[in-house]
């Protein structure tokens, strides 16, 4: 029982990341009809937003402290970060400690901006072209983005810590009357993603804007005929999708140190998630994201690996292949979307 619970928990954090990326991919595909191979790169850029914020907050200057001497008897140079000197050591220290959550504020406008520029500058011109062309040009863009990041941040993973207070483990099992220790940040990540997913869904469900976008996803031409400027809304949707991917990346940094090719690594799996969930289905993307994350966690249990060695490496692909062949529209896909 404990083991099962633990695996479900283990699956949740990766599942959350899959679900968030797949959600953005589906938003873009559903609204703009574009297959975006650069979406993983947006996730990666989000992660590097966190890195950047942490670096900015750690910017420091040196002061010569006459009261302290080094071992040669010279006055000691002390590094003090600007943040600490402005807000005082305690408050400043706390701000630095909470760099990753603070990065969310920084990442939202940046990601939306990147999304706008991408859509207006490039994607827009590919609405009418074949899906193969869309895949190719966004694949090219993904390479460019990851190389730019590599140029500025180097090729090695950069450790980015979660706030001290959230970096320990908690006994999640207490809820169920047993003992299961689990990293706090991963729980935070799960709830964070639930909030984002809930936010997107209620946005689409309860606002006029969301209603128009949903109508546009169902039938773009008719909505266009109603005299609604659907293009502008779609640009905004692209910005939102980019922000979702970016936020998923920001919060993922303490779980996995970001490197420039993390986007590509997640992209392949996220596409598989989208396909399993059903191309164009938002609930499908979320469901499949969590489901595959948890499946992956179960497959990496030693008990299962001893029966089917290597299953943890391929379970997601096997599921995807089976689903695509037996139920091509995915778990919750609408009929006729991208069939044949």
């Amino acid at each position: 029982m404990d083991a099962i619970l633990l695996q479900i928990l283990n699956g949740l954090d990766k599942g959350s990341a899959y679900a968030l990326i797949a959600l953005g991919l589906t938003l873009i595909f559903g609204t703009l009809g574009v297959v975006n191979f650069a979406h993983g790169a947006l996730f990666m850029i989000g992660a590097f937003c966190a890195v950047t914020v942490q670096r900015i907050l750690n910017l420091s200057y040196e002061v010569v402290d006459e009261t302290q001497k080094d071992f040669l008897g010279n006055p000691l140079k002390v590094k003090t970060s600007y943040v600490e000197s402005w807000f005082g050591p305690e408050m400043g220290g706390a701000i630095i400690d909470w760099a990753v959550p603070i990065a969310i504020l920084f990442a939202i406008p940046i990601m939306i901006l990147i999304g706008f520029v991408m859509e207006r500058g490039l994607i827009k011109h590919f609405y009418k072209r074949e899906h193969a062309d869309q895949i190719l040009v966004t694949f090219g863009l993904a390479i460019v983005l990851q190389e730019v990041i590599k140029y500025f941040y180097g090729a090695n993973p950069i450790q980015t810590a979660s706030p001290e207070a959230l970096s320990g483990v908690a006994n999640v099992g207490a809820l169920f009357g047993t003992e299961i220790f689990y990293p706090v940040w991963r729980i935070v990540y799960f709830f964070f993603s639930v909030v984002i997913i809930g936010g997107i869904f209620s946005f689409l469900q309860f606002t006029t804007f969301g209603m128009v976008v949903r109508a546009g996803m169902a039938d773009r031409e008719t909505v266009g005929l109603l005299g609604i400027n659907i293009d502008r809304r779609f640009t905004i949707m692209f910005g939102i999708a980019a922000a979702v991917a970016g936020l998923a990346g920001v919060m993922y940094t303490p779980i996995n140190s970001p490197n420039y090719h993390m986007g590509m690594d997640f992209l392949v799996l996220s596409f598989v998630v989208v396909v399993v969930g059903g191309m164009g289905s938002l609930p499908g993307a979320v469901l499949a994201g969590f489901m595959l994350g948890i499946l992956e966690a179960f497959a990496s249990m030693n008990e299962i690996k001893s029966i089917l060695p290597g299953i943890d490496q391929i379970i997601i692909y096997v599921v995807a292949i089976i689903i695509l062949l037996t139920r091509p529209r995915g778990l919750m896909g609408r009929k006729g979307v991208m069939e044949e």
Binding site: H131, A132, E147, V272, G310, L324
Partner: protein
């Protein structure tokens, strides 16, 4: 000639001359001149040119003709490499059985993957092939370690059986790959004044196989089968209602292109007998897509050009460093020189992938026909100008 029309024969001859004279063509600069770093006439680089050329030619038979975009072709290349290395381990160091096996095994593997993937089309097909390739890559890294030797990669050892050969040579080292006794690594150097040209046995084997592969691809393009493949790309509905079954056509194209990839993998292992899982990664599949599109998908010569272009720049561009740049721009005033170097810096050396990505995007956006279309446009423009000049002078003549 060889059942080709004049234009195709000419194309084949041009490619033949280019590949066979590559040691000269790629080494235009004297060895100790400043430009020598742009020479590409080294055996291993030239081998890579033609091996990736073969890979791209095969990929083009699938993508260029049928329009099915596979993102998993590197898997076949990897399978080919593993098969060849196993042949070196078990049978002999002769490359012929190794290459044959790699083509056969990758063909079978392609049959299996193609049979499943081709039940879908469009983006679903791309994702299925991607999933299969990534799955093969993961398996090669983990469970299949007894076959693939996992992360280390499959290598030859001194205790390999090599039934028809020797486990170790007389001096106790691992034997080298050969073609009926001719060592693949043997290189003949010719010094001609300040120039040095290298003629490598392995390269020439690869080049001859490239010519055969290119010839076969021309035949396929010009055959009724090739026409059917283009018809698949154009209108599957009409195909079905014209009594044609599209599935076996696409599957045949998939298997053929998989065998080309396996051939490339087998050759790669024949030149350097080791095989690693990273050859199967999806970014490696992406590379052959880049080559084909950059050169011109659906054209005969495009994939070869694309492969050569990318491999040349990968090896040469990435060697340019700031020092070299400074020496080029030293004629400028200091401040400007530093600025220019600063601007160019991100695009060279390790940043060459950035250049490649930008170039690739530009090609997809502005030049869907790739380098071949670019060449045609330039030719047309030049011709157009010439005609204009001609007609201009023609109209002038009576007036004079």
């Amino acid at each position: 000639m060889f059942g080709l029309d004049n234009k195709d024969t000419r194309l084949l001859l041009v490619v033949a001359v280019l590949t066979l004279c590559a040691p000269f063509i790629l080494n235009p600069f004297p060895t100790d001149s400043a430009m020598a770093q742009f020479n590409a006439g080294y055996p291993d680089l030239m081998q890579r040119f033609v091996i990736f050329g073969i890979f791209a030619i095969g990929f083009n038979i699938l993508f260029g003709l049928t329009g099915y975009l596979s993102f998993g072709h590197a898997a076949f290349l990897g399978v080919g490499s593993y098969s060849a290395v196993w042949m070196f381990k078990l049978l002999s160091m002769n490359v012929v059985p190794a290459i044959l096996l790699s083509v056969v095994i990758s063909g079978l593997f392609a049959l299996l993957i193609g049979f499943v993937s081709l039940r879908r089309s469009g983006i679903y097909f791309s994702i299925l092939t991607l999933a299969f390739a990534q799955m093969s890559f993961n398996l090669a890294y983990s469970v299949l370690t007894p076959i693939t030797n996992g992360e280390t990669g499959l290598q030859l050892t001194l205790d390999d059986p090599r039934v028809l050969g020797v486990s170790a040579t007389a001096d106790g080292s691992i034997p080298v790959t050969n073609l009926f006794g001719m060592e693949m690594r043997s290189t003949f150097e010719m010094a001609l004044g300040p120039w040095a040209f290298q003629f490598n046995a392995g390269y020439y084997l690869c080049a001859l196989i490239l010519l055969a592969a290119f010839y076969l691809s021309i035949r396929i393009f010009r055959s009724p089968f090739g026409m059917m493949l283009r018809a698949v790309k154009s209108n599957q509905q009409r195909m079905n209602y014209t009594g044609l079954n599209t599935k076996p056509y696409t599957l045949a194209a998939f298997v053929i292109s998989g065998m080309y990839a396996g051939l490339a993998g087998g050759l790669m292992a024949s030149m350097d007998p080791l095989a690693g899982a990273e050859r199967m990664q999806w970014t490696a599949s992406g590379e052959v897509v880049l080559m084909t599109i950059l050169g011109g998908a659906g054209t005969l010569i495009g994939p070869v050009l694309g492969a050569g272009f990318i491999k040349y720049f990968e090896n040469i561009f990435s060697k340019i460093n700031d020092h070299v740049l400074h020496s080029w721009f030293s004629f400028m005033p200091d401040g400007l020189e530093d600025f220019v170097v600063f601007i160019i810096h991100p695009f060279i050396g390790k940043g060459w992938h950035l250049t490649l990505g930008i170039l690739f995007m530009l090609v997809v956006v502005f030049l869907p026909g790739g380098l071949v279309e670019g060449g045609q446009r330039i030719a047309k423009w030049v011709k157009g100008r010439k005609n204009k000049d001609d007609s201009a002078s023609a109209t002038k003549t009576p007036a004079e």
